[in-house]
């Protein structure tokens, strides 16, 4: 009897401890123990917080759908999503919903299922295009006999984003010759253009060059003269941005406090677009989710052991006070990234152009750094202005990678060369040392259609 009683007591204690442990984990920053399976490469950074996606414990599918749209909705809108939800809520497509209920993101992108997750986080078998477009060869004879899994080959079609390449664009660039035009990255907007944005504190920080003599109020706090010297060489000093622009914060009580280590919250006062991109990308998405910053040790890509504990923030790449964009464009990346693609960069022709630019042997913006491709200067529509700003969401032009063709590759290369290069996985791995060994037929198919059309109208190609 005593033994039985003891068993019950042990069982109760064990259950209570287990319950306390689960409650503790549920309220902690690491809730991975509750995950029913590993998450995709796009979400694993935030997997320790169930509430990032499961925003309401009592909701159904609509809760998950709303979480998807909350993070990805704006991007889908900006690229004129080819398969918006409204296409499937249209009653005339009711029969298609039985084949593919594309009203819900999770129909195609189901999380916690790495064993069936393909490229772009798709968890459906590869024949999903076929379900609705199986008769495509009737309209496009060039597509006759093509395999069902070739639709999304680089340079062809995508389910959501077809803004990068389309037939008329390809037709326009059929005759382009590789490396024949001006080889140049886009020139970033000037400070004067940046100040046009409504949030820019132009009243407090008018654009005028500052020196250490303008820092009288802050000098008593700054203990290191080297910091002031570094600041004096930056674009910040040239643009009238003093210490207090980043280090001071006004509280609700109007009291002004000094922040020793400013975060992205300070940076966004002037660089809102850049900070928004950082928070949307893999470097900053944890901060956006209210979690501790990402560290290289948490990455799935190979990272240098010496960098494993570095927390990612604006200054982890831009270095506080120096804000050297050349450092941020290459050395900061290679300080952490240690995969084959990254390690091959310094042997690549791209690095050759960067070396020439940074050593004064070539003109400004002619060098290709890591950032030229992964964080390129792109045209952005902000408020009523068109600005050329650096896109800090490094995933944006990789979903899918042909989005890089227009914003990056075609600054120097022809369309055909770019399409083939980005379809060549080995070439990507060795950081484009050599020429593409695969050929995507999209340009040939457009040529074929154009030729037939011209023959019909009595002309030539």
């Amino acid at each position: 009897m005593t033994s039985k009683k003891a068993t019950w007591i042990y069982w109760l204690i064990f259950t209570a401890l287990l319950l306390i442990y689960f409650i503790y984990k549920l309220s902690s920053d690491d809730q991975k123990i509750f995950s029913p399976g590993e998450m995709t490469h796009g979400h694993h950074q935030i997997e320790m917080s169930c509430a990032s996606c499961h925003t309401d414990a009592f909701g159904g599918g609509e809760v998950l759908q709303s979480a998807c749209i909350n993070c990805h909705g704006d991007e889908l809108k900006s690229v004129d999503d080819s398969h918006p939800k409204s296409k499937f809520t249209n009653p005339r497509n009711a029969s298609r919903i039985k084949e593919l209920d594309a009203r819900q993101c999770v129909t195609c992108h189901s999380e916690h299922k790495t064993d069936i997750t393909g490229e772009m986080g798709v968890t459906l078998p590869e024949d999903f295009c076929f379900k609705c477009h199986q008769d495509i060869a009737e309209d496009r004879p060039t597509h006759k006999g093509m395999a069902f899994n070739t639709c999304a080959s680089s340079g062809c079609h995508n389910y959501h984003d077809n803004s990068a390449l389309y037939e008329d664009f390809i037709e326009k660039h059929i005759a382009d010759v590789n490396l024949s035009g001006e080889l140049k990255n886009k020139t970033r907007s000037t400070v004067a253009e940046l100040t046009l944005l409504s949030h820019y504190p132009i009243g407090e920080y008018p654009v005028k060059k500052l020196t250490h003599s303008d820092l009288t109020n802050s000098m008593s706090i700054i203990s290191d003269d080297n910091i002031v010297h570094e600041w004096e060489t930056t674009a910040h000093a040239a643009a009238g941005v003093s210490c207090k622009a980043c280090h001071e914060q006004k509280l609700e009580s109007d009291k002004i406090i000094w922040i020793q280590k400013p975060t992205e919250q300070s940076c966004k006062s002037c660089h809102s677009s850049e900070v928004a991109g950082f928070l949307d990308g893999k470097h900053g998405m944890r901060i956006k989710a209210g979690l501790a910053p990402m560290t290289p040790s948490d990455a799935r890509q190979t990272m240098r052991a010496t960098s494993h504990s570095n927390e990612l923030s604006c200054v982890s790449c831009h270095s506080a006070h120096k804000f050297d964009i050349k450092h941020a464009a290459v050395d900061a990346c290679l300080g952490c990234h240690d995969d084959t693609h990254s390690k091959s960069y310094k042997q690549s022709p791209h690095f050759g152009t960067w070396h020439k630019e940074t050593t004064g042997q070539a003109a400004k913006n002619t060098g290709v750094s890591c950032a030229s491709c992964h964080m390129p200067a792109v045209i952005k529509d902000i408020e009523d202005h068109k600005l050329v700003l650096v896109e800090h969401n490094q995933s944006l032009n990789l979903r899918p990678n042909e989005k890089m063709i227009r914003s990056v590759c075609m600054n120097c290369h022809s369309l055909g060369f770019s399409i083939d290069s980005l379809a060549d996985k080995l070439l990507i791995k060795n950081n484009f040392i050599g020429k593409p060994s695969v050929h995507v037929k999209s340009i040939d198919m457009v040529k074929d259609r154009l030729s037939k059309r011209n023959k019909k109208h009595g002309g030539g190609l």
Binding site: P84, K85, S86, R92, I97, D168
Partner: protein
């Protein structure tokens, strides 16, 4: 008055109030009146955009292009795109009706008739100029009142663009002809 009678009167009175049918008639707008009214607005806006914006600025004054790739080419949105974007916004807002622009001769093959009612209706409005087509159909689990109205080529811009487009299945449209149909669907009870 006994208790049963009081209960009966109370329940029937409440039911009448809740149903909004105090005089025995169904209140609200008939589906046909609703789709006719919707189409009159759609047709007016579509004609104004085609004539006053595309026809005037792109074709006559030639101060700006109209292009399917309007974002890339910094051009005006085509009238058919304008119509589709509007329809998508309405759908996003969860409106209790849905509309599309379809044709027997579409440039985008996704816009050819698909349901039996669409096929019958688009043929009817093409064969009977000036007439609309009304029907009911069950799509998925829902019954719809479906109205199909003729979409007329009201400006030379419509005719020349469609006749000369590389993907057009028809090249002999004339001004004033039926080029397609506006399909409006309203869900109805069985």
């Amino acid at each position: 008055m006994d208790i049963k009678k009081i209960y009966f009167l109370a329940i029937t009175g409440l039911a009448t109030v809740l149903s909004g049918c105090s005089d025995g008639k169904v209140t609200g707008i008939e589906p046909k009146a609703m789709t006719d009214a919707l189409f009159s607005v759609m047709e007016a806006d579509r004609t104004v955009y085609t004539k006053l914006i595309i026809g005037r600025l792109a074709k006559k004054e030639k101060v700006i292009k109209a292009s399917e790739h309007w974002k890339d080419e910094k051009a005006l949105v085509l009238p058919a795109q304008m119509f589709r974007y509007g329809a998508e916004r309405v759908a996003e807002k969860g409106a209790n009706f849905n509309y599309s622009l379809l044709s027997l001769w579409p440039i985008n093959q996704q816009n050819k008739p698909k349901t039996p009612v669409e096929k019958e209706g688009l043929k009817f409005i093409a064969d009977n100029p000036g007439q609309n087509f009304y029907s009911e159909e069950k799509l998925g689990d829902t019954n719809y009142f479906t109205a199909i109205y003729p979409d007329i080529g009201v400006a030379n811009a419509c005719i020349s663009c469609h006749n000369n487009h590389k993907d057009t299945p028809r090249t002999d449209f004339k001004l004033g002809e039926v080029m397609g149909g506006v399909v409006i669907r309203v869900p109805v009870k069985d």
